[in-house]
């Protein structure tokens, strides 16, 4: 059979339903002053006090062992937290990357010393991470990475430039992917490694802002000029960086969150259309809701696979591809139903949310793997490459 199988999603047990209810109440409390426009920032919101509240209440490091500050909950319970967080438009930037991929990478590859140093603080919502993969000449083609680390006694000296690093200016640490071996053209993936780099205390590291087209600052360029990183901050094994970074990307892409970026626009659209009985409004919202419901189901199926320790990367890639089309398609759907000049700074909730979403939507099929890369991965999964 050529179909890529998605198993049945996990069951909504009483415990899961209770967790959802409890967490919705938490979000209501924590986010009561957040405006629709702020909620529409979604992943691009950064608020340390919110992340600390998440950590204190036990909603970060959900699946990790208690030994490291985790809560030993199921992958599905973590899913519920993540989807409710995004559906509520919470500012996740200060814990998002650490909870989703940096922490799991440290659990998988880190030394005991690293686990003890980082994991409890990530689970407490006190440590923000960012992703050190892309470079000026190495975007989708990650193996073209040029940043290089050279062993020097008890340290490594790192030189090179990383690009598109969201929240490098705010975060505390980055997991840096770079070259450690000779890395000849014959084997571009060999001789790469990952390092845990302290963004606040590394001499030779400078961080320069890159303002996106929406006028916001989350992107950065990180420049390493003979920056010194202690050898005990090597993550995993020297030379195994490629396998490790692929695993980190799998954590990044397996997330359930790949279709909720514009959900605030859908809420605001419903608000402005409320009371309307027009066929167009009903029919369009019906079709949109159907797509959303099915995406959620596929996402929960991915979670079922993660729960069973199966490799869900192909399924997750499909969800991300279909999900990005959904979240990027909402502005045009909204525009067909309701006339409004978008304006991110407007006092009108609808105009400000539409403005913010239109300006940010292009990034959703770029981050975490471009649409073209994802489709190549799916095609390979179908056996065509």
């Amino acid at each position: 059979m050529s179909a890529i199988p998605f198993p049945a999603p996990p069951v909504d047990s009483d415990a899961v339903l209770a967790l959802r209810t409890e967490f919705r109440a938490f979000l209501d409390r924590e986010l009561k002053d957040r405006t629709p426009r702020q909620r529409s920032d979604n992943w691009y919101g950064f608020d340390r006090s919110f992340s600390r509240a998440m950590g204190q209440a036990g909603y970060l490091g959900m699946t990790w062992s208690k030994q490291y500050g985790g809560h030993e909950r199921s992958a599905y319970e973590r899913y519920v937290i993540v989807e409710e967080t995004l559906a509520a438009g919470a500012p996740v930037g200060a814990h998002w990357i650490a909870d989703r991929q940096s922490g799991p990478s440290i659990i998988k590859y880190g030394t005991e010393e690293q686990k003890a140093l980082f994991l409890p603080r990530i689970a407490a919502g006190e440590l923000a991470f960012c992703i050190g993969m892309s470079e000026p000449d190495s975007g989708s083609d990650l193996a073209a990475t040029r940043t290089r680390a050279i062993r020097d006694g008890d340290n490594y000296r790192i030189t090179g430039t990383k690009l598109w690093t969201s929240f490098a200016h705010e975060a505390d640490w980055v997991i840096l992917f770079c070259r450690t071996g000779s890395g000849g053209p014959a084997d571009r993936q060999a001789g790469t490694s990952q390092f845990l780099v302290d963004l606040k205390n590394t001499p030779g590291l400078t961080i320069r802002p890159i303002i996106d087209l929406a006028g916001q600052h989350h992107f950065n360029e990180m420049h390493f000029e003979d920056a010194i990183v202690p050898a005990n901050m090597l993550l995993g094994t020297e030379g195994q960086g490629w396998e490790q970074v692929m695993s980190e990307l799998a954590f990044e892409r397996s997330g359930p969150e790949r279709f909720l970026s514009s959900i605030e626009l859908l809420y605001q659209l419903i608000a402005v259309l409320q009371g309307q009985t027009s066929d167009a409004a009903q029919i369009t919202l019906g079709r949109v809701t159907a797509r959303l419901a099915v995406l959620r189901r596929l996402s929960r199926s991915v979670t079922a696979m993660l729960q069973d320790k199966q490799d869900a990367s192909l399924q997750a890639t499909i969800v991300k591809d279909v999900g990005a089309l959904f979240e990027q398609g909402l502005p045009d759907i909204a525009r067909e139903l309701f006339d409004c000049e978008p304006d991110p700074q407007s006092a009108s909730a609808y105009a400000s949310v539409l403005g913010n979403i239109v300006l940010n939507a292009p990034s959703w099929s770029l981050r975490g793997g471009t649409r073209e890369i994802l489709r190549g991965i799916i095609a390979r999964g179908l056996g065509t490459r």
Partner: protein
Amino acid sequence: MLADMLHRLFERHIDDAAHVRARQGEWLGEIWAEVAEMGLPLALLTEEQGGFGLTLAEVGEAFRLLGAHAVPLPVAETMGANRLLAKAGLALADGPAGLARADDVRTQAGRLVGQVARVAWGEQLDCLALGVGDTLYRVPRSGWTIAETGHALTFQPRPTIAIDWAIDNSAPLPHDPLAEGATLRTFQIAGALESALELTLQHTSTRVQFGKPLSKNQAVQHELAKLAGELACATAAADLAAEALARRDLLGVAAGSLRAREAAGAGAAIATQMHGAIGFTREHRLHLFTTALWTWRDEFGGQVHWARLLGSAALDAGAEGYWPMVTSL
């Protein structure tokens, strides 16, 4: 187990010749006899009702196979009709059955009178499980005549029937026949899309142009990836609809059905395009699945019917209530 038996049965009997006969309106009686022999018409019944007591997953697998072979017989309709009849405590069908809702059919001096549009294989059926308002009737074949011929895009019969029948049975309607039919169709759509993807992969990996198989082109690979995405959505949509039907949640049925209908159109378009001109002919098997997809996506309440139902619920839920509604689907 059931799925294996069905797969073998369909492999053996539902060949191209059978499809040609069905397209000409010929009833495939000998294949129906085999299907009935296997007990398939009772497959949705619980063991107490005389069925197999299958799980949702097993039923889904069976229905997907009906789609994956584009079986040109009203098997799904009969299974759905029998589920309704059994739940309502009415006699089961003695042969192929139809499944319909027609709220404008009237009762007149103890008779049921009115038309039911586009009943699959309406001439050949044993009976029709018909919902009128809150009532279910088991209308025997003697209770209707053919008012008007009609055809699906598969060219199989969809006559409009004129009922004039002295009512001798009725029961409160257990659930909406349109929801039952729409749910069955989601599985058939998922199955047909699976076959369409398989044929498309076969074609694009063997057809050589410019010195290489079509599937070595990125533009082609990306379309295949999109097709796989539509198939994933249709399959999930079918399961979603079936679970919703089991808890009599019409909004969930609407969500699953709508997404499967959308996948039917989008998937058929990609599969046809990837086949080039041969996909637009009757010489290649792809058309069996594309014409079935284009048929099934508009049956048992159309897209507008189900979208209105779900969309008005979304508007009623309001901005605050929308997300909780989505998580309940």
